[in-house]
Amino acid sequence: MRQQVLVLYLSTSALDSHVVGWSRYDGTGRSRPTTGDSDEPPYPTGLAALQDGWRLFQASQMLPPQAGHEYDVSFLKHEFFFEKLEEDPRP
């Protein structure tokens, strides 16, 4: 079995909030997604990915702001990792 990995960045910490960013990694080797290769996300929300059969396996923790850096902006905060398992295409 091989993993298809989908990473969705959501607007809030809620899984049914809308997608603001996305990445794909293909463990089967059939495709090579890369930076800037699509302008529309594969799903409108994280929940829509679940409904299409993607399995959530990691969500970013909700961490309070670091003292003294409450107004700083950095990485996208609401990151969700999904997977689908597929048969290994190699004989």
């Binding site: 997608v19 603001v20 890369t34 930076t35 800037g36 290769d37 996300p41």
Partner: protein, 260 residues
Amino acid sequence: MARFVSQGFLRLDAVVPQEINERAVATLADGLPDLPYGIPLDEAFASDTFVHELLALPVVAGAVKSLVGPAPTVDHHAVHVREPHEGQAQPLHGDAIIDVRPDAFDIQLMYYPHEVTADMGGTLSVPGTHLRRINETDIGRVQNLRGQRRLTCPAGTVVLLHHGIWHSGRRNDTARRRYMYKLRLNPTVPQVRLWDTTDLHDQAVTAELGTYFPWCEQATARLEIYNRILLWRALTGDDSFDIEYWVTRVSNRPALRSHA
């Protein structure tokens, strides 16, 4: 300038004459010699070079002066090439290292001497990301963001970027090399009211600085505006500027003013 503070770039389409473009392509194919870090811009390029002529164009010279002021120094320059059918894009990144200066910024001039079509791997950039505190390719995991721009442009286009903007050289799916010339400039004077400020109090300024970008999380979008307000205060010298009271509200400390 408000749009630059909000979006992190200024784009000037087809401002360079074809004669300079043709000389630039021929020169870039052979590469360019390195320059010493910090050399004054006025001393960096001989008058017969395409870079000198590029920077002497009034629209380019005016933009550079408005952003970094008179007598900037050259940080470095480079020829960027996306090879034909190279199969991979650069990871999303910010250049150099994490840079959190609250009252200064460098600009990166990107010059495209030939037309860049959709499949030639023009630079991907994400408007409004320049104030995010990240270190180089730490954001490489992120492949796509709503509102990202995949540059296509006519020959002779110049884009001036804030040093912090998230960007990537995209995959070139054509059989043709794609060239871009990059020049990073450092200011040598305080970047305070260096541009035409006659419309400083126009409502359009507030509208630009209050832009919400589609890639930004709902709550953090407000912090983006907060940070833009601080940068605008630094660039204008006006410590009272605000948008929707975002900074004033959380700076209100009556106890510190009390003499009771």
